[in-house]
């Protein structure tokens, strides 16, 4: 297979377009210039580093290193979920709930997919395990972060409604039910949308990458379907665990709404 390697100066052209975008948005006073540049710089640094790490990991291929890598990815994803919430559960719960729900859904789905569906030998072969886990965690993270953020935000703004429903004798599940459904919906929407639009509106990133990398489209398509299903399942179960645990934590054993367990908005 012939893969055209990209030279660094060719990437620099793409980077200059990002800079142009940042400058334009700053001139238009839209205040996203700085975050764009910071995120772009992070992409370059993180991906370059991970390239080195992956080359080393593929060369070694031992279970311990794969497991260590997976743990680091999970913890970073947990931190990211926490950082994306405006009102977070205090006392480590924001990190804990996010991380545990991603662990439960992301790791289960990855391991199941590796052992049952793809079946490389050994099952933790890093060339399969790490990209699959990465894709899953990345999307599960989005689902969990969106749903938790929506949940805590809604509870924060609508606490009077929830308390009034409690006053009328509703159980905590009923009192927060609307907000749980809303949170679940917003966590799942990105995946539902991208499944619905896949192939028609958008060519999914992984498939594009694989085709650019020289795979036949028919193989790329099968892997893409597999990945989208696993991502949907992963982020779906992740969001379910996160929303259930998060909303439970917002009430105590006497079904009182404990808004004091949420931090106030960051400046």
């Amino acid at each position: 297979m012939n893969v055209i390697d990209l030279a660094w100066w060719e990437l620099a052209i793409a980077a200059s377009m990002v800079v142009a975008l940042a400058i334009t948005s700053t001139l238009a006073r839209l205040n996203v210039g700085k975050p764009i540049l910071i995120a772009a710089a992070r992409t370059v640094i993180q991906l370059s580093l991970i390239g080195l790490v992956l080359e080393a990991l593929f060369a070694v291929g031992s279970f311990h290193w794969v497991a260590l890598m997976a743990t680091v990815m999970l913890l970073v994803a947990g931190r990211e979920v926490m950082a994306r919430q405006k009102h977070r559960l205090t006392g480590g719960w924001a990190f804990g709930i996010g991380t545990v729900s991603m662990f439960i859904s992301g790791f289960t789905v990855t391991i199941l997919t590796l052992t049952v569906v793809i079946g490389p030998d050994p099952w933790y072969t890093p060339q399969y395990a790490i990209p699959l886990l990465g894709m899953l965690l990345g999307n599960t993270m989005t689902g969990v972060a969106l749903s938790l953020d929506r949940l805590t935000e809604a509870v924060w703004r609508q606490r009077a409604v929830i308390e009034n429903r409690l006053m009328l004798g509703q159980s905590w599940q009923d009192a927060i039910g609307d907000f749980r459904r809303e949170a679940m919906r917003s966590g799942m929407m990105p995946m539902i949308n991208s499944m619905a639009a896949a192939g028609i509106v958008s060519l999914p990133g992984m498939m594009t990458g694989q085709i650019l990398g020289g795979s036949p489209p028919s193989v790329a398509v099968k892997y893409q379907i597999l990945v989208m299903f696993t991502i949907t399942v992963g982020s779906g179960f992740g969001a379910i665990v996160a929303v259930s645990a998060g909303s439970r934590r917002l009430f105590d054993e006497r079904e009182r709404l404990r808004i004091d367990r949420l931090s106030s908005a960051r400046a």
Binding site: Q158, A160, V161, E163, N164, R165, L166, M167, L168, G169, Q170, S171, W172, D178, D252, R254, E255, R256, L257
Partner: protein, 197 residues
């Protein structure tokens, strides 16, 4: 059934003891910020606090929390409406109550968006009674009502209370109103309740 509050502490209030007899209306007043609303919230078990509350002989802890609140119902000063239609908030239709409160037929089908603050306040009381409480905690229930509506509301709620023999704690600030509806009157003074004669 009587509502018995024993050694309740919340915020500035310490060790409050109060027994409200069936059908009795105990009025409670105090400067703003003295903790009237929080006192009611504590009885309804909406905030962590210390102390015990009994309804009749049953301890609050023996009920699941939502069962307790269904029995000992707090009607807040500012009611919240989450569904589209008024009727979606009621446990059962209350045609007589709405008529007594001056609402015409069809009020149940109104959209919540068109309710004025006074209408919300009166409907919130009717909504609370539609769920069949056994004790009532009213937080300034006539704050948004004009004189006519206040009088209408007092007449209706007094009849309901007499009929159902509910113990009631009524937070108010209008002396005349407390004289009209209350059997006893307490004022919050620092950390305790002071009887007003």
């Amino acid at each position: 059934m009587a509502l018995t509050i024993h050694a309740l502490s919340i915020g500035a209030l310490k060790d409050i003891d109060l027994i409200v007899q069936p059908g009795e209306i105990v009025c409670l007043s105090g400067e703003s910020g003295s903790g009237k609303s929080r006192f009611l919230r504590a009885i309804a078990d909406l905030e962590p606090h210390e102390g015990e509350v009994h309804l009749g002989k049953t301890n609050r802890c023996d009920f699941p929390a939502h069962e307790w609140r269904k029995r000992v119902m707090l009607v807040p000063a500012e009611s919240q409406w989450w569904a589209d239609a008024v009727k979606d908030h009621f446990c059962k239709p209350m045609p007589q109550a709405l008529a007594s409160l001056g609402f015409g037929e069809g009020a149940m089908d109104w959209s919540v968006a068109r309710l004025s603050s006074g209408e919300k306040q009166r409907l919130a009381a009717a909504r609370a009674l539609s769920c069949g409480p056994e004790a009532l905690l009213l937080d300034e229930p006539t704050a948004n009502l004009d004189d006519d509506n206040t009088e209408q509301f007092e007449r209706w709620i007094s009849e309901e209370i007499a009929r159902t023999a509910m113990p009631v704690i009524w937070v108010a600030h209008d002396e005349a109103q407390m004289k009209r509806v209350g059997n006893r009157h307490f004022r919050i003074k620092g950390d305790h309740l002071e009887p007003v004669t």
